[in-house]
Amino acid sequence: MKKFICGILAISSIALLLSGCSAKPDAPASSDAATEARDFGEGMVFKHGFDLDYPPYSHLDDNGEVGGFDVELAQAVCDYYGWKYEAVPFNWDAKDAELNAGSCDCIWSGFTRNGREDDYCWSIDYSDNTQMILVPADSDIKTLADLSGKVVGVQTATSAYDLLQDEEGQKPLCDTFASLEVFETYTIAFTALKSGAIDAIAIDVTTGQFLMNGEEGYAFLDEVLGSEQYAIGFRKGDTELRDKVNEALTALVEDGTYAEIGEKYPDIKDFLCLKPSSEQ
């Protein structure tokens, strides 16, 4: 019987967690377990947690291998210290459980810092991001106000979605929509847009540009929906590792590695916000 009570408890706790409720156990016990006895020396395993559904920050590349800007940057950080890089792809919905349970050391996957300041131990911001509205070029929607009475699509558990659900953010605007359609992926949302099932998509500018590659007849509205910064989220209290990664990031910016990796990702290179001291 004990087992079943436990099972029910576990189910309810996970359900709470997934509902985005802030009742996250702050888990000092396991953070300790996961962080204790680390010397940050060569050979330390760095477990990089990310979602493979988030191009071009973390995705399957053209060779079917794990890749993306965040993955390459994380690997560069590991190379910097001589750490062993371990990729931990997770399902975005379960990211907090993965981090807290210690299967990864950080969430580093185009992860928006804004609005989550108190929930993680944050690195420095390494990329800007803007949420935009993507519409067919010939659409009669020209401003955010035109979205009133329209059907807007968004991907579940993204910052664009969060923004539209945030009373302090764009919830009032969202309330003017005929409806907000939440999709499993932006690829599906984009297909819905193409087929006329929805009128517009609320999306990160980088992801939006990525979607529009090789597609004619789509454009962003000039008005910006919201803007935010990407950073790396560590377990609360794990400042040591955070500081180490910050140090490495700064060094990689200075020696040009950061910009070099950025060059490979034209969709996002304009948003990479770290600059070497010589350029500041």
């Binding site: 019987m1 996970i14 399957l60």
Partner: protein, 215 residues
Amino acid sequence: MTFSTMLLTMGEGMLLTILLFALTLIGSMPLGMVVMFMEKSRIKPIAWLTKVYIAIMRGTPLMLQLLVWRFGPYYLFGISIGSAKLPALLIGFILNYAAYFAEIYRSGMDSMPVGQYEAAGILGYTKIQTFFKIILPQVIKRVLPSVTNEVITLVKDTSLASVLAYAEVFSIAKQISASQTSFIPFVIAGVFYFVANFIVAFIMERIEKSMQYYK
């Protein structure tokens, strides 16, 4: 990404799907038999507990159960979990499917005419002989169509493993679809599931036919 790279990458996912499918079947079909006997146990607490277990397994989404097996150890006991996903997936899938198989077996057992037990008893067969020689072969024949249904459902249910980012074919299809802004990976995944189930249906039909020599 070239089409062949896409196929190759998805091929790895297909292998993981097949692995999860096969191990789940190997684990849950015999376990279902054990669960069925526990449910029919004359020791009331065992029978009662088993009913609760079956009710939970059937009454909650499998996706939620997978999350519990993966993250429950941490949230309940503060145990830091590793990055291996297969153990949690196998526990989740096997326990869930064992509950369904147990119910299928039970319905098969309950449909057996009592005369078969009586005839075997009069002839002096022991209980174990009666079960394995007389009852089980007939029960298998009776439950085969339901089992086929369940196995086909399992093929498709393996896609739920994507909730733990297990790199089975559906997860990979989603990822490639996102990075290539293409629907083709989903089409490939669809064809894969269809072909897999076609094979399952074909094999099960053969087994059913092989038992059609009697009514």
